[in-house]
């Protein structure tokens, strides 16, 4: 059983997606329970894998006993064991959270939502685990297709926003496929480890350059790096809240992971940083992404929309960190995938609770929100502190690694951009605190002497995931040293 764990992580949600559709036809409410059980099981197996990777070392799982270069291999090392666990936990928390929200927003589409939900996470888990470049493309498209359906579920303006995402997402995936085609011409192999061995023994030709370029542009489109970001804000803003809670922490981060995986496991350090020497251009792009994302976030009145622009800025952090080309920058980028996943989740869950109770997420409707929903706002504040980078939360530590990496690489523009972005985040969130805490509830304004406190919290199924995530942010922050020493450094050692 234990040695099958890598496959089970992906197979359990895949099969349960089928059962959710069938059982959901008769018992729509059961699909919620099934989804939770599915991701609880996946999380357990992901944890087993993580434990095994830390104690024994990287796992290689071959499907159907076809040895690695011919068959499809799941390669689990220190980085993706951690990210798989993150994906499972995020999916588990969002599954719990979505119960009331889905009934309110989608009504009779509950089983459809949950089967798409599980399929989407299946795709993401597969992307993270697979060691086969073409298998990655197929799983990328599985997660993309289900995400289009999930985003369009709420109707109205979501249709055209999703259509634009479909066009951009397909371009991204097609570019990746083209890149893999060039690698196949050059090496005759699709297994990442095998390609890497063949590439490093050959001289680098233009074919490899084109392959690298196509794969990178494809992934940048998928992860919404600044000039290619236009699809993201609309798609995530008009989607059902539970969908954006699931997609915002996972989709873009998994694309960042694929970029890291391609840089480390297929191409190598020498080729990327010594032969190509694009790092200054890419870090400059990342700086523009951070600044543009922050400035655009400042202009938004709708909180959900504001968060989508913050995602654009955070993508700049990770791309920039990975392309600094030193250990600290790379540690920061890898650690930030986890940290950003949870802090985006935390903020989106909090905004979701507010939308559930208040009805919309514009800044003006935040008046008196601290009196109305104190527990939700505690979660929101911890997420906000992590976004700004205040010490006990994990956002501080990833920023610390990124800034030290920028200092080592003398990438001053990147360093300044990180600091400006932190300041902008502080302004953004303190603006909400100002409106929410110091401005009274609109209906209570006439009664100045005894403002009546009407607490109206979201249901427990929404609050518990929110508070768990907030706790995780602090927990991950406190265990930063362990995560970096046992998981990220062993991974980086092979690359640098």
């Amino acid at each position: 059983m234990i040695e099958q764990a890598p496959a089970l992580i992906v197979v359990i949600p895949l099969i349960s997606a089928l059962f959710i559709t069938i059982i959901g036809l008769y018992q729509p409410r059961v699909s919620w329970l099934l989804t939770i059980i599915t991701f609880a099981l996946s999380s357990i197996f992901a944890f087993i894998c993580l434990k095994q990777v830390v104690t024994v070392g990287p796992i290689s799982y071959v499907f159907g006993n076809w040895p690695a270069p011919f068959g499809i291999e799941y390669a689990i090392d220190h980085l993706n064991a951690l990210i798989v666990l993150m994906i499972c936990v995020v999916a588990f928390l969002v599954a719990i959270y979505s119960k009331h929200d889905i009934i309110k927003e989608l009504g009779d589409k509950i089983p459809h939502f949950y089967s798409l939900f599980t399929l989407l996470v299946t795709g993401l888990l597969g992307i993270t685990l697979t060691g086969d470049a073409f298998n990655l493309y197929v799983l990328l498209e599985i997660s993309a297709l289900t995400s289009y359906a999930l985003l369009a579920l709420s109707g109205g303006r979501a249709y055209i926003a999703t259509f634009n995402y479909l066009i951009m997402g397909t371009i991204g995936a097609c570019f990746y496929l083209l890149g893999v085609g060039y690698l196949l011409i050059n090496t005759g192999s699709l297994n990442m480890a095998d390609i890497s061995v063949i590439l490093s023994s050959n001289t680098y030709s233009y074919t490899v350059l084109v392959a690298f370029l196509f794969i990178m542009i494809g992934m940048w489109t998928k992860m919404a790096l600044f000039p290619l970001h236009s699809w993201l804000p609309n798609a995530y803003t008009y989607a059902p809240t539970s969908t954006s809670c699931l997609l915002a922490p996972l989709m873009t981060k998994v694309s960042v992971y694929v970029m890291l995986r391609m840089m480390t496991s297929v191409f190598n350090y020498d080729y990327i940083f010594n032969v190509l020497q694009w790092q200054h251009i890419i870090v400059a792009l990342a700086v523009i992404a951070i600044l543009a994302g922050s400035v655009l976030a400042l202009r938004q009145d709708n909180l959900k929309r504001m968060l989508t622009y913050l995602i654009v800025a955070e993508i700049g952090y990770m791309v920039g960190g990975a392309w600094l080309g030193n250990a600290n920058g790379f540690t920061g980028a890898s650690y930030h995938i986890i940290a950003d996943g949870f802090m985006t989740l935390c903020l989106f869950l909090a905004i979701g609770c507010i939308i559930y109770k208040v009805g919309d997420a514009s800044l003006s409707s935040m008046k008196g929100i601290f009196t109305k929903m104190p527990i939700t706002m505690v979660g929101f504040l911890i997420g906000a502190f992590s976004m700004i980078g205040i010490p006990p939360t994990c956002g501080f530590f990833s920023k610390w690694y990124l800034i030290s990496g920028a200092y080592e690489a003398s990438a001053w523009a990147f360093l300044v951009a990180l600091l400006i972005s932190s300041l902008v985040n502080a302004v953004l969130f303190f603006r909400i605190i100002e409106v929410g805490y110091f401005q009274a509830l609109p209906s209570e304004e006439p009664n100045h002497h005894h403002p009546k406190i009407t607490r109206d919290e979201a249901p427990l199924t929404m609050l518990i995931p929110l508070l768990t995530t907030a706790g995780l942010l602090i927990g991950i922050g406190l265990y930063t040293a362990d995560i970096v020493t046992y998981l990220i450094h062993p991974f980086i050692k092979n690359f640098l």
Binding site: I160, F163, L178, L190
Partner: protein, 129 residues
Amino acid sequence: MEFIINYYNYIIVVIIMMLGLWGMLALSNLVKKLISMAIFQTGIILFYISMGAKKGASIPIIKQAYDEHHHPIHQTINNMDYANPLTQILMLTAIVVGVATLGLGLALTQRVYSEHKSLHEDEILETLS
């Protein structure tokens, strides 16, 4: 000239792909965008197929020959006689993905039309503002 003769399949593929990519980004009718997407994906499929093709090669099924006592005869297999099956198998999957994307895109287009009563991107933007 020799370059064109040697690589004409790739040149055609690149032209097809660029037509598709241009259409996806530049055309404003949503259905035309989807058709361009299908053209772009077909270009990639042709790219993969043509990289695995060999002149005068057949399907990669090796027929085992036997002598009169029904013992298998050892044959030497020449790589150039058989086309590379890998790229074709990969493209079977890519075709499925392409069909699914196109179907989903058309379903979305239909919903966009019933929502905005138009398929033209500029007119849809006008109804939004």
